[in-house]
């Protein structure tokens, strides 16, 4: 148990990264990491989770059972205070944030299996690695789901069958276009700005060509997939649970996304109006 620090760093890094990457909040990532450390006999460890990375200092092995209370680091069992043994710090960067509930649930379950004592550390590491390298599904099927949900939402906002079809096409195309950028580093920005441009252009084309349909409803319906509503909710939740840095960072992210979307749509609409088009 004392000698598996390297293994533990890998497990912690993966677990934290998986949770932060796939929609978990920082509180959940910190709690999971602390529980894993406690289960591995190092309850004095410290975790700092941000939306952009996770930093963990693993205390030396002491195997004290502190139950639900965090270890205060003041008992002599932990060689921290005597200077024997060395704490180990690991940092794991989180470069992209999406919402993938399947991976989130699997990572949570794998971490639970370890903290409940049902899986060993090497098993947990293999499991987490499997989860990390899982394939993320077919982009065409995703585009269909996206189109359908956008179309149905346009109905909810007062659209008719024409808005349904247009929003479906716009949502479908936007999702396909954003999947092209999936592995590039400007994924977030490209997805939102270019998505806005694509949606607005297609909506403008379809309404002018067929001469019917409310363009605002179509655009708003098709944007449902890209809108940062959940991100904003997470921003406020993180601030409420006391993680101010994370809250402010997520809030800035939300602002950037909203402005990119509006910017993309606004550019297309103003070009269209400038060319003499009529927005119905």
């Amino acid at each position: 148990m004392e000698n598996d620090t390297v293994l533990l760093t890998e497990v912690l890094g993966l677990a934290g990264m998986l949770i932060l990457e796939n929609g978990g909040d920082t509180h959940r990532a910190e709690e999971t990491a602390e529980r894993i450390c406690a289960a591995a006999g190092r309850p004095g460890s410290d975790v700092l989770a941000l939306p952009t990375g996770i930093m963990i200092t693993i205390a030396p092995y002491c195997n004290k059972k502190t139950g639900n209370r965090p270890c205060a680091g003041d008992c002599m069992a932990c060689s921290r205070s005597t200077g024997d043994g060395e704490p180990v710090t690991l940092i794991r960067r989180v470069k992209k944030r999406t919402i993938n509930l399947e991976k989130l649930e699997l990572a949570n379950r794998a971490a639970r299996a370890f903290t409940d004592g049902k899986a060993s550390l090497p098993e947990t590491l293999t499991r987490l690695r499997e989860i990390d390298t899982q394939s993320t599904g077919n982009k065409y099927i995703d585009a269909i789901y996206s189109g359908l949900s956008c179309g149905l939402f346009s109905l909810l906002f007062g659209g008719g069958w024409f808005e349904l079809i247009c929003a479906f096409l716009c949502g479908f195309t936007a999702q396909l276009v954003s999947s092209v950028f999936q592995h590039s580093s400007i994924y977030q920005f490209a997805r939102n700005f270019i998505g806005g441009v694509v949606i607005a252009s297609l909506a403008v084309l379809l309404t002018t060509f067929f001469g019917m349909g409310n363009i605002n409803i179509i655009i708003i319906g098709s944007l449902m997939n890209l809108l940062p509503g959940l991100a904003m909710t997470n921003a406020i939740r993180d601030t409420m649970t006391g993680d101010l840095v994370s809250g402010v960072a997520r809030f800035a992210d939300v602002l950037l996304i909203a402005l990119s979307l509006a910017g993309g749509v606004g550019v297309v609409l103003s070009v269209f109006i400038g060319l003499g088009g009529v927005v119905r």
Binding site: F153, L156, M240, L259, A262, G266
Partner: protein, 162 residues
Amino acid sequence: MRLYTGQLVFEFIVCTAATVFFSLLMRAPRKTIPLTALVGGASWVVFELLLANNQPEISAYFFGTMVVAVSAEVMARIFKMPAPIFIFPSLIPVVPGTRLYKTALALVEERYVEFRDEATRTLFAFCAIAVALALTNVAARSLSAYLSTRARRKLQKRQGKS
């Protein structure tokens, strides 16, 4: 604003269907999808009903989110999965993403008065949602802790007697 029952039923069905596709997009676990979709539809109906009865917007967001949050906590206990898995898909109809977009659009198109109005409304809406989520989370955690200590004490008493 009068709401007709037929319209409500139609919106419920449409909202449920839309939530299903969003859940699939988010890769929610298959067995949770039907329930979360129904909760999503229900929250939209509650939201619309409150607005139709001239209740303040903020209470519409609050109670709509309450529906989602309470059902999510219950389902989290039943399915043994973390609560966000149930909250994220069902919350999408209630979350005012479109309002956020309109705020940004007003800013980009230099309509500053509308920007100020929409921004304030958006902020209040999100605060109502966050407060509803936080309250339910805290309540659920305290309730679970209380129930588990009570169960443990009962078990100890029974073991002590036998």
